[in-house]
């Protein structure tokens, strides 16, 4: 007879199916990608020995370095723009009446339950030379010739910020909601101006939310390829587009794996940095 008759029992066994699934489809598949990145290109989609670092050597090429730089710059711009537009939004919503707050949050989140592609497609229509934005501007007499909006860095940035926006607003909003507002009142009471209170109390108190928001917008931004695909046309070669090309056009599995490993490493470094400055892992899962 088993000696363990307690209420806890062996419930930990319930996590076994999920764990095995994750070991196979996440753990092993990621390890396999790392392994592939050390092999040479085989026939078709295949890979073959010997083990080599050639794929990593190729990364030194100007083309790849430039793409990496562009991707990181775009991701950083996206995160900063989300901060610039998102923080005031989260702040204003958190200062609204409770009922209004709930509705505003539902209004904010609802679009993101719909397909990202469709929303980006909506921007594509808006940005067309003969699309709604240009039509409105023209009928207002502000421009004479249609502006070139689509297939520019600007349109890609708009699409990125648009797609990443809630991932910034949500953590910041929840840290604003958790904040003890009597502290801001105390600061006013002690003689600080509203602006000074905002920068010495509110911002530092919500810093964990801001950091989580930046990480949550930055990480996915490096790998997104369909936004630049749809809004940036052929001239924007981001890291994600490179991976997609290597895989689907060049059929070079090992090199695509190498590019993904770089992305994975970047993600890891950012998460480590985030934890280093005191961020909690739980704050960046959504």
């Amino acid at each position: 007879m088993k000696t363990d008759g307690s209420a806890g029992g062996r419930t930990y066994l319930a996590a076994l199916p999920m764990s095995l699934w994750a070991f196979l489809f996440v753990g092993i598949s990621l390890l396999y990608v790392i392994g592939l990145s050390l092999l040479s290109r085989g026939e078709g989609f295949g890979a073959q020995l010997p083990v080599t670092l050639d794929n990593y050597m190729r990364l030194g090429d100007r083309l790849y370095l430039r793409s990496l730089w562009l991707s990181l710059r775009l991701a950083a711009t996206t995160a900063l723009m989300s901060l610039l537009f998102g923080y005031p939004l989260a702040y204003f919503i958190s200062r609204a009446r409770p009922r209004a707050r709930t509705w505003l949050m539902i209004l904010l989140i609802a679009p993101f339950w719909t397909n990202a592609l469709i929303r980006i497609y909506g921007w594509k229509i808006l940005f067309y030379a003969n699309g709604p934005i240009n039509s409105v501007l023209r009928s207002l007499g502000l421009i004479e010739k249609p502006l070139k909006l689509l297939y520019t860095d600007f349109s890609v940035l708009v699409g990125m910020v648009y797609a990443m926006f809630p991932f910034f607003v949500l953590p910041v909003y929840s840290s604003l909601e958790r904040m003890d507002w009597t502290m801001a009142e105390a600061s006013r009471d002690l003689g600080a101006t509203p602006l000074k209170t905002f920068f010495t109390i509110t911002v530092p108190m919500t810093l964990p939310g801001i950091m989580a928001g930046l990480v949550l917008t930055f990480i996915p931004s490096i790998g997104l390829f369909f936004i630049s695909d749809l809004l940036g046309g052929a001239n924007t070669m981001l890291w994600g587009n490179l991976v997609q090309n290597e895989l689907l056009k060049s059929h070079d599995m090992p090199f695509a794996a190498t590019l993904s490993v770089v992305l994975l490493a970047l993600t890891g470094v950012i998460i480590l940095l985030y934890k280093r400055v005191g961020g909690k892992a739980d704050d960046i899962v959504f």
Binding site: M1, T3, D4, G5, S6, A7, G9
Partner: protein
């Protein structure tokens, strides 16, 4: 103790959590039908003992016998023992009737019988008509009664109650104490009750097991525990007690002469007392008297420092010239006006002062 009067026996119970000793070899016999209280400061192992009896925790060593049968390895659902949890643990998604009927349903009792017995139980705990309420709609006292009803409906051989009154306010606590005691007699179930409240323990119990650091310090009736504490810890945990650290100077017949920092104090001896031993003389605060006039017989002198008024009683603080501070609690209607700084005489009836071993410094 004979087999048929003993309901539950614990033998050599030990429990270690990681490296921490929670229980240090417990032996206990619970008599059928009694109200036994496990009393002790938090962290003394009361709850662990209870959880082991319930089967929610496994002892590291030792055995649990119910009616002579070894149930140490039995899972909780197979024991004829039920628990009333500290936070009641009522199922929030079931109404009161469903909560009370839960155990019966698990035993596959026919539906009609379940309804009947739930109704009986609701009547017993004075919650008729509350069957369809959800636990969230009940007051603290009502939840507590549902929790008891839910366990008692199964007519367990033994009911374990883990600080069931802990969450209630003082007035309700007092009321529930007598209700619980009444309920226990009505149901005729053996209760093992946990509390850290000495007053509660003295009020309700047939016997009290005083615990400390995973051991029993004393197992006795409330009266004996109060009047004849076994150790200095027992004396200080229950009631307000003056502890005088003394050395035994000499013994002659019934009498023992003690020395406390140069003051000679006579007392009644115990059979374990030997000359040269250090021990404690304990005097309950309410049994220590003081007055400006010196009494007949033995007394001590001290300086009146001040007093705390508490309605019917007043506790005076008196400092001896050895530096010891003693407390004397007297009824306010008999009090004499003494000003701070005045000298007073202190005395007590020798029968009410007991000798105990000093175990206050012990820690694990």
């Amino acid at each position: 103790m004979s087999e048929d009067t003993t309901l539950l026996s614990l033998r050599g119970l030990r429990k270690t959590f990681d490296t921490q000793e929670a229980l240090n070899g417990l032996d206990l016999d619970v008599i059928r039908g009694e109200f036994l209280t496990l009393l002790g400061p938090s962290g003394c192992g009361k709850t662990t003992t209870l959880r082991i009896i319930a089967g929610l925790e496994m002892p590291t060593e030792g055995q649990v016998f119910l009616e002579g049968k070894d149930i140490t390895l039995l899972p909780p659902e197979k024991r004829e023992v039920n628990t009333v949890f500290q936070n009641y643990a009522l199922f929030p998604h079931m109404n009161v009737a469903a909560n009370i009927g839960y155990g019966l349903r698990m035993r596959k009792v026919p539906k009609a019988d379940v309804l009947k017995r739930v109704d009986e139980m609701l009547r017993l705990v004075q919650l008729e008509g509350y069957g369809k309420r959800m636990p969230s709609q009940l007051s603290g006292g009502q939840r507590q009664r549902v929790a008891i009803a839910r366990s008692a409906v199964l007519s367990p051989k033994l009911l374990l109650l883990d600080e069931p009154l802990g969450a209630l306010d003082l007035q309700l606590r007092r009321q529930m104490q007598s209700e619980l005691k009444k309920m226990q007699q009505q149901l005729g179930i053996t209760f093992i009750y946990i509390t850290h409240d000495q007053e509660e323990a003295l009020n309700m119990s047939d016997r009290i097991a005083l615990m400390r650091d995973g051991r029993f310090v004393q197992l006795d009736t409330p009266h004996n525990l109060y009047e004849r504490p076994a150790t200095a810890f027992a004396a200080t945990f229950i009631g307000e007690t003056n502890i005088l650290d003394c050395t035994v100077v000499g013994i002659s017949g019934e009498e023992v002469l003690l020395d406390m920092s140069g003051i000679a104090i006579p007392a009644t001896t115990e059979d374990w007392v030997v000359p040269g031993q250090t021990l404690c003389l304990c005097i309950r605060a309410e049994r220590l008297h003081y007055a400006k006039k010196s009494p007949e017989g033995f007394f001590l002198r001290g300086t009146f420092k001040g007093s705390h008024y508490a309605g019917s009683e007043r506790t005076a603080e008196i400092e001896l010239n050895t530096g010891h501070t003693l407390f004397s609690r007297q009824r306010t209607e008999q009090e004499e006006t003494v000003l701070p700084g005045e000298t007073v005489c202190l005395w007590w009836d020798r029968k009410t002062a007991g000798l105990v071993i000093d175990d206050r410094e012990e820690t694990t």
